[in-house]
Amino acid sequence: MADIVRKQMVAVEGATVRERLQAMDDSAVVTAFLGGEERAFSELVTRYQTRLLNFVYRTIGDREKAEDLVQEVFIRVYRHLHRFDRSKKFSTWVYTIASNLAKNELRNRSRNPLVLFQTVQKNFQDEDRPLQFEDTTSRPDDMYRKRHLREIVEETVAKLPEHHRNVFVLRELEGKSYEEIAEITDCNLGTVKSRLNRARNSFAEIIAPYVD
């Protein structure tokens, strides 16, 4: 009986800690983790896994690889969190790691055309893609048009030069400020604005014939 009560107490205490962590901002969660609270790391993973996955996926265009890279991001965070400068934003730091990993991945691909070919093949396997865009109440031709449009948008993003795409995704998808993007991509503010302007123009130019 006492054992059961103890287990329940531990469970309640665990839930309370988790709730408390959920209410904290990133900086406080980081402090908790560095103070020895292992559950704080799970909280950071929960907060960032989807955002990072989308960011890396839109940057490299390969879902499976994107997931591997996001795992790598969290491994690095776990290992080096004690070195993180807590006067800065945690999200900027995490995105910097993710951005660098994505950049390395693209660089490796360009050196090895075989990898690029495999990736392209994988991207065109429609069965593997989640059909989130579709609405079941829509007519089949509408569904087809939407799926087709989504593919075009993704392909158009993939056509942008790497450094333009990085800035473009950070701004349009993640909603980062120019200053944050400058810090993540290690560029000055002027370069960020100019790259964003070019990326937007190129993207709009490529996609315009499909939209009109």
């Binding site: 989807t50 879902r63 795992q71 491994i75 776990y78 004690h82 989640p130 865009f133 701004r171 937007r200």
Partner: protein, 178 residues
């Protein structure tokens, strides 16, 4: 505003980060210039498409796989870092404690020792130096001298040559008494 200025400021215009006056100028330009209005609409429509792309979710076993990887690759790293940090804190605390202890010992010692008398150096009695009596001559005299241009010891070494070298520099006692 011309079209070039409009294009330069278009990024900030789309992101709504322009100051009020600039925003009004941009809007006025769109109303006047059809080309720029089309360009603006094209960009905004394209961005809308991109922003509305469906979000992808991590696979169901993402967290489990991550946990397993952390256990496999980083087991003990976090604990090691915490231990190192604790060790560092301990070392700092020990240093501070020893500094306080040393300070306490120093202050205690300085308080217990009695103030010492001022000790003067022993005075050694010496004979007063004899007063030099000025040479008084009955007759006034002027002594001339010529610099040898040498230090004393070479002069002593070459003492034998002195008469030759200083042939014209004899010391003479001049007497101007008439």
């Amino acid at each position: 505003m011309d079209c070039r200025e409009f294009c330069d400021k278009h990024v900030a215009f789309v992101d709504d980060t322009l100051p009020g006056i600039e925003l009004v100028r941009m809007q006025r330009h769109i109303a006047e210039c059809e080309i720029c209005a089309k360009h603006d609409a094209k960009i905004r429509r394209a961005l809308l498409l991109f922003r509305n792309l469906p979000s992808i979710e991590p696979s169901a076993d993402f967290a489990e796989r991550l946990e397993a990887r952390i256990k496999r690759e980083c087991s003990g790293e976090h604990l090691l870092v915490s231990a190192q940090r604790n060790l560092r804190r301990g070392a700092i605390a020990a240093t501070l404690a020893s500094a306080v202890m040393l300070g306490y010992i120093a202050s205690t010692l300085s308080r217990t020792s009695s103030p010492r008398d001022l000790v003067m150096a022993p005075v050694v009695a010496t004979l007063p130096e004899p007063e030099l009596t000025p040479i008084t001559t009955s007759t006034p005299a002027i002594v001339t001298s010529v610099s040898a241009g040498l230090t004393i010891w070479p002069a002593a070494v070459f003492a034998e040559q002195a008469p030759v070298r200083f042939a014209h520099s004899r010391l003479e006692l001049a007497n101007y008494t008439r």
